[in-house]
Amino acid sequence: MALSLNLGLAFAFLILGMYCVLTKRNMVKTVIGIEIMAKGVALSFLATGGMAAQVAVIVAIAIDAIIAALMLAMIVNAYRHSGTLDLGAFRKLRG
């Protein structure tokens, strides 16, 4: 029971994060969405993996923090460059 509850919660996190990433046009919100997805993954590890997974999850959280910092740094630079947080302003790869 606890397992399926945990997994269900992890899946909910994943869907929530994905919805956020797919629909929001604000870059900061995209980063938040990615982080929510990552937390969903971590939770699913914890739900299924036992003791060994806890170590992996702690490392994964640390790496997530680094990734978030990197993405935020990129956002700051992008904002300085274009003066907006809207993703629609970065469509230079449009064919």
Partner: protein
């Protein structure tokens, strides 16, 4: 000294040099060059010590294992046999001589620490490639030497042509590498099915020992993949187009990588896996055909090439064709009686070719350095002004042409007599024509560069001692390396290589002159000389017009490749609309693909 130590020196010292070169480079150019030379020579000493043990003292197969990823049973296994130590000797020693030559040749060019780091990385990786028994490790170093080749071709970063040539080399060899990789995993899957551990499934020696149990589909598919890999690295038609363009690299790099070592790795792969695939009907024929076609096409292109380095590059392609041809000479009387006719010849030609071709390239480096151009029609008369370079290059060119007594003659004659004895008469005829053309373009090169009147606007002079010393050492090697034949065959025989018999140098001489093939070798040399002598008359023949035009266009290989790339570009432009540049839409694509994969796993995955 134990073997682990010697192997560690031969591989590790050049690689350590790579890591330290940028740091030492900070101290100054003098320190950097001294450091690189010392590192290269220590590595070379390691390869010489190993060659001595295996070739002369005939120690038995040395197997070592270094942990790589022990948790999944994958190890860096070392297997030393005469073939491996010969390749390592060539890479280590010619590498050291090239580094010594570079001291003066590369003096003052920008990015020197990058240059030495890459050259040392190449030497160490090449030695590791030939020492390892693990196919995955072999592939790893196979890619590293490809990377070094790419980076060194494009060494001059301000030269657009060099950058393009580097990319071309990388992409073309990539086609072969893909085949090789598929071959490795086909063998792996096949070996796992018959109950091998992961370590065993990647081990060449294990696969050879269990070749009989592997299914013929596995072996056939892997055999074709390995041939493709060898074609890419050893520049066989139609994947030969990168090698002439690679001549944009510094001449030292051409001598080491594109003449003496990297391009031999394909032939090495074929020789190494011959006991594995040689029993398959048709495998040898494919190798032989590719070699013969490559040899003759490249020789015709060398015969009309005006650029000194490109001529040598085509000559290298042609000689590699000789080796592949010899490797493919497998007499097949049924699955139980397979005779590898050309194994000895292919390996020995590889050895002698590496020496005299490195010599020719380094000599060409001196010539180009001094004459200030690569166009042979703007040289001429250099024999008087560059005496030492002339004498050494004369030995190299005559060895290439097959003058009796020089090492090139013996190894080429071994190939021709192997073809004669295995009754492959039509391919033999093709190879004899190639040998004629080889003599022809060798004399043409000597004539245009050294003989006749000067067509230059500046005086040339001999190179300084650090550049002529490697030339002298290599020219001695080009003249007498065939005397090592006795050690060569005895070592292979002692290792139980199939169809290698211990022969002394005296046997080599008596057998060479007892075989009718020697008549072909001698006739080819003198016919080439005659054709060269009457070149003006032949050139003016009207029937020469069309063949020359076709050869000059390089048989259209580059045109075909350009056309393919243009076609690909057209198709890509059609798909360009799908690139919206909108992050949300792109991510939706990722999400949909994930869902599809999940669904596929759910419905098809079973467990």
């Amino acid at each position: 000294m134990d073997y682990e130590m010697m192997v560690a020196i031969a591989i590790g010292v050049p690689l350590a040099g790579t890591a330290l070169a940028p740091i030492v480079g900070r101290l100054g150019r003098k320190y950097l060059t001294t450091f690189a030379v010392v590192m290269a020579f220590i590595g070379a000493a390691g390869t010489v010590a190993l060659l001595w043990d295996v070739w002369i003292d005939n120690v038995q197969a040395v197997r070592l294992s270094f942990d790589w990823a022990p948790s999944i049973g994958l190890n860096f296994t070392i297997y030393l046999d005469p073939l491996a130590v010969m390749m390592a000797f060539v890479a280590g020693c010619i590498g050291a001589l090239v580094v010594l030559y570079s001291v003066k040749y590369m003096e003052g060019s920008p990015g020197l620490s990058r240059y030495y780091a890459l050259v040392l990385l190449f030497i160490g990786s090449m030695v590791a490639l030939v020492f390892t028994d693990n196919l995955l490790v072999l592939y790893f170093f196979w890619e590293i030497i490809g990377l070094c080749s790419y980076a060194l071709i494009g060494f001059n970063q301000t030269d657009q042509k060099a950058a393009k040539a580097g990319i071309k080399a990388f992409v073309t060899t990539r086609i072969g590498d893909l085949g090789f990789l598929i071959g490795i995993f086909a063998l792996f899957a096949g070996a796992r099915e018959i109950g091998a551990t992961i370590d065993q499934a990647f081990s060449i020696q294990w696969l050879i020992a269990h070749a009989g149990q592997l299914s013929s589909v596995t072996l056939g598919g892997a055999g074709l993949g390995f041939i493709l890999g060898a074609m890419g690295k050893s520049a066989q038609v139609p994947l030969h187009v990168w090698l002439p363009d690679a001549m944009e690299a510094p001449t030292t790099v051409s001598a080491l990588i594109h003449a003496a070592t990297l391009v031999n790795s394909g032939v090495y792969l074929i020789l190494r896996t011959m006991p594995l695939f040689g029993h398959l009907q048709g495998w040898g024929t494919i190798v032989m055909t590719i070699g013969a076609v490559t040899a003759i096409l490249a020789a015709t292109m060398a015969a009309i090439e005006p650029d000194l380095k490109r001529l040598l590059a085509y000559s290298t392609v042609s000689q590699l064709g000789f080796m592949m041809f010899a490797a493919g000479l497998i007499k097949f009387d049924g699955p139980e009686s397979v005779v590898f006719m050309g194994f000895v010849a292919a390996g020995f030609h590889l050895f002698s070719h590496a020496i005299f071709k490195a010599l020719l390239f380094l000599g060409a480096g001196s010539v180009i350095h001094s004459a200030g151009t690569r166009d042979m029609y703007q040289m001429g008369g250099l024999a008087k002004e560059m005496k030492l370079t002339y004498v050494t290059m004369l030995i190299g060119a005559l060895s290439l042409a097959g003058l009796i007594g020089l090492s090139g003659f013996w190894s080429k004659d071994l190939i021709l007599s192997a073809a004669w004895e295995s009754h492959n008469y039509f391919p033999l005829a093709v190879m004899i024509v190639t040998a004629v053309l080889t003599a022809l373009y060798s004399f043409r090169m000597l004539n245009l560069v050294f003989w006749g009147e000067s067509r230059r606007d500046r005086k040339a002079h001999d190179a300084p001692l650090v550049m002529t010393l490697p030339l002298l050492i290599l020219s001695v090697g080009a003249a007498i390396s065939w005397l090592a034949f006795g050690y060569y065959t005895r070592a292979f025989h002692a290792f139980g290589f199939q169809d290698v018999h211990a022969l002394g140098v005296a046997d080599l001489i008596s057998e060479t002159f007892a075989s009718p093939a020697v008549a072909f070798s001698l006739a080819a040399f003198f016919t080439g000389l005659l054709l060269w002598y009457f070149r003006k008359q032949i050139w003016s023949l009207s029937c020469m017009k069309w063949p020359v035009r076709i050869v000059r266009a390089g048989y259209g290989f580059n045109t075909i490749y350009d056309g393919m790339m243009l076609g690909l570009r057209e198709i890509s432009i059609k798909f360009r609309k799908t690139h919206t540049g909108d992050l949300n839409i792109n991510l939706t694509g990722v999400a949909v693909a994930l869902l599809v994969m999940l669904a596929a796993l759910f419905f098809l995955g079973g467990a």
